[in-house]
């Protein structure tokens, strides 16, 4: 596959590892390892899939960040989606990732087994197509995601509005990358040494959401692609900044990413959405100005309006032993969660981090079972 295979080349990988080793050796020696947070769950997934963490010198370590839209989905959103899927005449369309996330009353897959109408689609345009094909049904698209994913929903809603497709709606839980990073960095306990920036978010946003990291916290950031060569190159670039005492935002993912991002995508988002006053994050709580909601002209497409306004359910807080919050903010490694691998497995996830194969727990479970026992 073009633009994939070249960036998985074992020879290049071996070379990069050598270079990283050399660079790490030049860093000042210290007690704790140099911690580099890969913000994006896609990076987490690639790291585990290719065993990149095992290629790093002992003094350099990946820390998994909050950048998986599935992992930060609060139970209330799932509960709303379930309620919509159970509504007569309604079909709930979702990305495959979200359907296994447990809500307070079970996941969308469990709801489907109980009779709710749930369909997995590749993208919002496919849900819109279903709305065209089934004019007698309400088609609700569960729109989750960061800035990478939001434009697709915006474009589908624009098309629905343009073409007058009244039976298409979205249940939106769209989030922004900058606020959780700010929250993380504001934590005085946290000692992260650098950030691998999310290459695909930055296609839309450009580098702007990450500028505060070197500016306010003097930590280096490298916007990275998702193949092994990309990630190792980014690690090396971070180590180089650390070596040189620099802290700036660098672009590793130059073949697609730019500092300015994609203005057309942002324009679509800006037409359809507006900043939400506050948004709920699983594990992080409620963060102000951290998400998007439908703009007034698009409120007619809000699927939440189809639901009875519920008396604020004192939603069960889930299993108190659930370690998601700590793992999500980098304070705990997955295997140290008491539920990990016992109650909580990819087949029976207790928390969202076990659902998406980007989730730190799922990635750990999927790829590191062997090594977890062998090496730790």
């Amino acid at each position: 596959m073009k633009y994939v295979d070249e960036f998985r080349d074992p020879a290049l990988v071996a070379q990069l590892v050598k270079r990283i080793d050399a660079s790490a050796a030049r860093l000042p020696s210290r007690q704790q390892p140099w911690q580099l947070m890969e913000v994006c769950g896609g990076h987490t997934h690639a790291i585990f899939r290719f065993g990149l963490d095992r290629l790093l010198p002992d003094c350099v370590e990946f820390v998994h960040g909050p950048g998986c839209p599935v992992c930060v989905l609060p139970e209330t959103v799932i509960d709303q989606a379930v309620a919509l899927a159970q509504r007569p005449g309604t079909l709930l369309c979702s990305y495959g990732d979200a359907v296994r996330v447990p809500g307070t009353g079970g996941s969308l897959l469990e709801a489907r087994a109980g009779g709710a109408a749930v369909e997995v689609v590749y993208g919002p345009r496919d849900a819109l197509e279903l709305a065209r094909r089934h004019p007698d049904k309400d088609i609700v698209f569960l729109a989750i995601g960061f800035e990478t994913t939001a434009p697709a929903t915006a474009l589908a809603l624009q098309a629905a509005r343009r073409e007058g497709i009244g039976n298409f709606r979205a249940l939106c839980h769209l989030v922004l990358i900058e606020p959780p990073l700010r929250a993380l960095l504001a934590d005085p306990q946290l000692c992260l040494d650098g950030f691998i920036g999310p290459g695909h978010v930055s296609l839309v946003t450009g580098t702007r959401p990450f500028d505060f990291i070197p500016a306010q916290y003097r930590r280096p950031v490298v916007i990275s692609g998702f193949e092994p060569v990309d990630l190792l190159q980014s690690v090396w670039m971070l180590l180089r900044q650390l070596e040189q005492g620099k802290a700036c935002v660098e672009l590793q993912y130059r073949r697609v990413a730019t500092t300015s991002g994609n203005s057309a995508a942002r324009a679509a988002m800006e037409e359809v959405f507006e900043p939400a006053p506050s948004t709920e994050w699983r594990g992080l709580g409620s963060l102000p100005h951290s998400g998007l909601q439908l703009a007034p002209e698009y409120r007619a497409f809000d699927a939440a309006a189809l639901l009875e306004p519920r008396a604020a359910t004192g939603a069960e807080p889930g299993d108190p032993r659930c370690g998601c919050a700590a793992v999500l903010s980098g304070r705990m490694k997955p295997p140290h969660c008491p539920l990990f691998g016992r109650e909580c497995t990819p087949a029976t996830p207790s928390g969202p981090l076990m659902v998406s194969s980007e989730g730190a727990c799922a990635a750990w479970y999927q790829y590191r079972q062997e090594s977890a026992d062998d090496r730790r």
């Binding site: 596959m1 994939v4 998985r8 074992p10 990988v13 071996a14 769950g41 896609g42 585990f48 899939r49 290719f50 065993g51 990149l52 095992r54 290629l55 998986c68 839209p69 599935v70 369309c93 990305y95 495959g96 990732d97 359907v99 296994r100 897959l109 369909e119 997995v120 689609v121 590749y122 993208g123 496919d126 197509e129 279903l130 995601g145 994913t149 092994p228 497995t345 990819p346 087949a347 998406s356 194969s357 980007e358 479970y365 999927q366 790829y367 590191r368 079972q369 062997e370 090594s371 977890a372 026992d373 062998d374």
Partner: protein, 339 residues
């Protein structure tokens, strides 16, 4: 049937319309004297030599859509059951064919599918000798489900099975993995995918017939639901051993890989319908591979791993950069990922 072009509940009600359907449209496709006797049971004049055992297997086929690139529910129902016989070392003899039809299915569709089923069974030297036809109301089934059960004979000299697995034995796969699963996923209307994705649906009997002549064969499975992943885990669990796989050795067609990259899936989890996994003695692996390569169904065969004494994981993959990772068992339905 006279003019009716679609099957209705009447065709499953045991009366005249059903008799007509069976006699005029279904039984002729399977044309054989045993089935033609139309008793409630086929009567089979079999003789079993000392040491020969009967192999007996069943599978229901529920594929959507009924027709897909490389096959259809008819070829699948034939080959799925034939393959479950032959991977046990049995020569297939007799199959049953039980239909559950959603009313409204066009008769023409049914006939075409069953003609394919009959052809595949005949090609393997077996006969469909008994059957059943049910028609259920609209919405109570999805077009057509087919169950086939099969009877075969295992020669006295053949003893294959997980009881013979041992540390050190080699694992061979007979060709590229995941073709069937990828072809079916590409047919899902909501995913709207195109491409050169063709099911590998095939009867493995011609390949296995040759393999049975080679020494050192210990166990075989066809890698259907759950893909190669599922077979590896079954082998490991049954033998109390671990599997070590070489990722680089696993044959995957480019388009299957493309689909997996697009949807975030692992080719090892995708179903095959014409591939088998064989466990062979270490010193027999090379010759077995040659034997497999000699047949078109095994031309893409590869040595992909081996069994080793139990480790912390059941299945361990050595990746491109030499790092080992655990390969967990498939945990549910295959869902395309966006992240």
């Amino acid at each position: 049937m006279t003019d009716a072009k679609r099957l209705t509940l009447a065709h499953g009600s045991g009366g005249e319309p059903m008799q007509q359907l069976l006699h005029q449209h279904i039984q002729p496709l399977f044309d054989n004297a045993i089935l033609a006797r139309q008793e409630d049971q086929a009567r089979l004049n079999m003789t079993l030599a000392p040491g020969e055992r009967l192999a007996f297997t069943t599978d229901s086929f529920v594929v959507t859509p009924l027709c897909f690139p490389g096959g259809n529910i008819g070829t699948l129902a034939a080959n799925g059951t034939l393959n479950d016989l032959v991977v046990g070392g049995a020569r297939p003899h007799y199959l049953s064919c039980a239909l559950i039809i959603e009313e409204g299915l066009p008769l023409e569709t049914l006939q075409a599918l069953l003609a394919d089923l009959a052809r595949e069974v005949r090609a393997a030297g077996a006969l469909v000798v008994t059957g059943d036809t049910k028609v259920v109301p609209r919405g109570a089934a999805d077009g057509l489900f087919i169950n086939t059960s099969g009877i075969g004979v295992i020669p006295a000299a053949v003893d294959l099975g997980t009881h013979r697995l041992k540390a050190g034995c080699r694992l061979l796969v007979s060709g590229p993995v995941g073709d069937h699963g990828a072809a079916i996923l590409a047919c899902r209307r909501e995913l709207a995918l195109g491409g050169d994705l063709i099911s590998d649906c095939a009867s493995l009997w011609p390949l296995v017939k040759g393999m049975l002549e080679e020494p050192g064969l210990l166990a075989m499975r066809d890698a259907t639901r759950g893909g190669v992943n599922a077979v590896l885990h079954e082998f490991a669990a049954a033998a109390g051993l671990s599997v070590e796989l070489e990722e680089a050795a696993i044959p995957v067609r480019p388009a299957v890989r493309g689909l997996c990259e697009l949807l975030g899936l692992d080719p090892l989890q995708l179903a095959c319908e014409g591939r088998l996994l064989a466990a062979v003695e270490a010193d027999a692996a090379e010759r077995m591979l040659e034997r497999m390569h000699a047949h078109p169904l095994g031309s893409g065969a590869q040595l992909i791993g081996r069994l080793v004494p139990q480790r912390n994981s059941a299945v361990i993959v050595r990746g491109l950069y030499g790092v080992e990772r655990s390969l967990p068992a498939v945990s549910g339905e295959l869902l395309p990922r966006i992240c």
